[in-house]
């Protein structure tokens, strides 16, 4: 994190990403890149294929073709294609879900502790005998999970069941859980969906804070105010294709983007 990175070297590079479901092409030769410490937004009308990009990146879907490259600074490039979701997470990509997918019957703290799973290594024998190493590791997990919850603002609800949290808190808990996996890139799928303006403003601060900690963020969002205020770079998708990219100002005035969102004029049709 302390290492100075040149702004031009991406840490995640997607090229030619294509995904077919039966005869339907959900993603069509898509190129994306994310640089260190950047907040990148992925926007587009419903059904444009944004969540499909996340699912391909995190190994839930197997892309039909294309390259997913993880290029950590100073380390060897690693292909993400064909990795199982848990391996992708180990590579430093963590995500949230559009329809919240918490572990509803586990406590808030446990939800976050789950995130530490891939960074810890206690075995079955360790769990049974509780040797000193395991106990120490367990203590560390609790401490770290708690410190993340404190930052997210859920520290006073740690023993509450996740299903009993209010909606906004559930979305924040998902972010906390993802942060616990020690990601370098955080994928947020519509984090502001269903939030009121006050909650959205809080979320804005939260995401900026996470970026200031050195993480890169790929964001799917429909709230344009949030997208414009947060993003360093925006990719616009429609029908599985990238139709525009650039800085917020650039994208705002792009005719192709306006057409995709508002439809063509009647005369043109």
């Amino acid at each position: 994190m302390t290492e100075k990175t040149t702004p031009d070297t991406p840490i995640l590079e997607v090229s030619g990403l294509t995904m077919d479901f039966g005869g339907i092409r959900a993603l069509d030769h898509l190129d994306l890149r994310i640089r260190q410490g950047e907040i990148v937004a992925l926007i587009g009308p419903n059904g444009a294929g944004k969540t499909t990009v996340f699912n391909c990146l995190t190994g839930i879907y197997k892309p039909t073709s294309g390259e997913l490259l993880r290029t950590p600074t100073g380390l060897a490039t690693r292909r993400l294609n064909g990795l199982k979701p848990n391996k992708v997470t180990q590579q430093g990509l963590a995500r949230t879900f559009q329809n919240i997918r918490l572990f509803p019957n586990m406590t808030v703290l446990e939800n976050v502790m789950i995130g530490r799973h891939c960074r810890t290594r206690a075995t079955v024998l360790g769990a049974i005998f509780r040797d000193r190493k395991t106990v120490r590791e367990e203590k560390k997990i609790v401490a770290l999970a708690y410190s993340i919850l404190k930052k997210i603002g859920l520290a006073d609800m740690i023993n509450e069941f996740a299903k009993n949290l209010p909606y906004g808190a559930q979305r924040r808990l998902e972010i906390a859980r993802a942060l616990a996996t020690d990601p370098t890139i955080l994928l947020l799928d519509e984090p502001a969906a269903g939030m009121n303006p006050h909650e959205t403003a809080e979320l804005d601060e939260l995401i900026t804070g996470i970026r200031d900690d050195g993480l890169s963020i790929l964001l799917i969002e429909h709230d344009m105010k949030l997208v414009m205020s947060l993003s360093d770079h925006i990719f616009v998708m429609d029908y599985g294709k990238k139709i525009a990219e650039g800085s917020p100002n650039n994208v705002r005035n792009n005719p192709a983007v306006i057409k995709a969102y508002l439809g063509e004029d009647v005369e043109d049709a």
Binding site: F21, T51, N55, I60, F97
Partner: protein, 300 residues
Amino acid sequence: MEYFIELFFSGLTRGSIYALIALGYTMVYGIIGLINFAHGEIYMIGAFTSFIVATVLSILGFPLLAIFVIAALAAAVWSSAYGFTVEKLAYKPLRNAPRLSPLISAIGMSIFLQNYVLLAQTSDFMPFPQLIPEFGFMEPIAGIIGSSDLVILLTTAVVMVILTWLIKFTRIGKAMRATAQDRTMAMLVGINVNHVISVTFIIGSALAAIGGLLIASHVGQINFFIGFIAGIKAFTAAVLGGIGSIPGAVLGSFILGLTEAFATGYVSSDYEDVFAFSLLVLILIFRPSGLLGKATIEKV
């Protein structure tokens, strides 16, 4: 060669019975996505009801044809009533529960019904009255195909035709197909989904009951436990053909019946059931969508 043909027809007979039961599994699965574990028991209840009715009528001295028809009707009516009631009691309250809840409920129902028949009737094997006479015109080929085989094949064919007509061309059939594709949408366009589900259970149960009557009179004896193995095998057939698909269930049943007949005829009859179970395990592992089924992608 004669042995081969004999095995072939015995396989077709088995396949017909499996098909009659498998249709119930596949229709219910198609509509509510539930493996109706108690379906084998519905079949057993059909067989038992027809056993009771047929025996009573034969003691009272009714003619054979009348016994056959009345026993078949009684089996269909009561099996349907049981199927309907089981759905209302054990599955309907769990429509929106986690996926495993209705399955556990179905297993409970299956155990309950088995022991209900055991307690209400008997644990012994009961001789089933012979309802299908040896037809005179069948005599020249009786060594290859028996009269009851012929009746089973014909009945199954007639039932299949009626079912196809019902699903393809009637109002309720259309509603069933719509519900199977998208339950919420069907509800929104004004289909009474609960009604459709009930009808599905009733039809499936009636088919199983006919199968129960036919196989019982073919084999000549029944007891309370026949539903378990028959249920598993019919389920295997439904999965083999692609669960949720009606032609698939019929195809799978005939494949299973034929392979079983040849395997027991040429190899060994000791491992007959092992064979069916192994086939089930293999299909589910290597091609869970079956021969005619469609693979599904889970939405994230």
